[in-house]
Symmetry: C2
Subunit: 205 residues, 2 copies
């Protein structure tokens, strides 16, 4: 691209570093900002900077939070003995939007994927096992996506905690196999939580 | 969406104001920034702010520029007597990338569109007519997209300048009718500039 402005070129380059945003799209977005009041660009930049610099990770569930303990973990009406294990914050948002779950979460931060070089040590598995070990948890609901990586991760965790007295379950597959949780509709996803099945039953089927 | 963080919610809202970016995409982009070093977010924000606050519009051709007069208008090797009329800066970039044009540009800033409420007074038409009036221009090349709005704009300008002694042409339609200039391949677009035809001929055909 032949830019007539270094400032423009620089902005397009930075925007096109974002995943799925090519140079053309970046140029379109940046030219849009130029047509809008400068306050829009100010608010956008400030929102990104504030988030990146000030956001925290809940020290209990590893969810994204503005405080050391997230609103969910901090809520006395939630049942801390039921913990739903998810890959990332988008899954928390998806399940929360169903209003069908009253326990807490544990955000792993991904799933085991040898191809992407993600092993158990890169995920929040140790802190999960430690919660179980301390007897804080009575039931663990696996809500990872039903892909090979998701199943591997479920199984890896299950092997670590099966010696403890704990109920394990996976969310009922009302949602089709291979689908990402975050794209499931709320009703289906809500039902799959209510109808969760014992984890051991799920690996036999 | 149920956000566990106001900072996150705010960032997603700001990003999703961009055209063609929904809430889900915005969330994906923002979570990506959280996984990257904080410098990436810093560079992105700074690039956008610098662009928005410091970029100028060339006072001669209305192209985006870092200086009062853009590099093209400022280049003594370019022929100021041939002016190519385009809708926006993306068209300048597209034509420059062909290396087939040695004149200057005149960026209208859009095209006449009654549906979108864009009239001649919203575009840089007066300054173009004034250039012609002063005898600065010998040839005007219309390079607007061949849509109804583009044709209307061409014709409106043509009516304003036909009384002056000036050659008018439109770029040869090697590129298919209805196509946007910026998506044309360089070779085709370059040829359509070299083979430009008199404007009067183009409205007769
Ligand atoms: Zn938490
Ligand atoms: Zn210029």
């Amino acid at each position: 691209m032949d830019f007539s402005s270094k400032l423009l070129e620089n902005a397009v380059n930075e925007v096109s570093r974002l995943p799925g945003i090519g140079k053309r799209t970046a140029l379109r977005l940046v030219l849009h900002l130029l047509k809008q009041p400068s306050d829009n660009t100010k608010y956008l930049s400030e929102a990104l900077l504030h988030l990146r610099n000030d956001v925290k990770t809940c020290e209990k569930c590893h969810n994204i939070s503005d405080t050391l303990l997230c609103d969910i973990c901090n809520n006395p009406k939630r049942n801390p003995e039921i913990v739903c294990v998810v890959e990332d914050i988008r899954d928390v948002m998806a399940i929360e939007s169903t209003s069908q779950f009253n326990g807490l979460y544990h955000v792993l931060g991904g799933k085991i994927s040898p191809i992407e070089g993600i092993g158990p040590q890169n995920l929040q598995i140790e802190s999960l096992v430690s919660k179980v070990e301390k007897g804080e948890v009575k039931e663990l609901i696996f809500a990872l996506s039903s892909t090979m990586e998701g199943d591997t991760t479920n199984f890896y965790i299950f092997k670590q905690i099966e010696k403890f007295e704990i109920t394990t379950s996976t969310i009922a597959r009302g949602i089709s196999v291979g689908d990402e949780l975050e794209y499931a509709d709320e009703v289906t996803l809500g039902r799959s939580i209510v109808n969760r099945i014992p984890f051991e039953q799920s690996i036999r089927s």
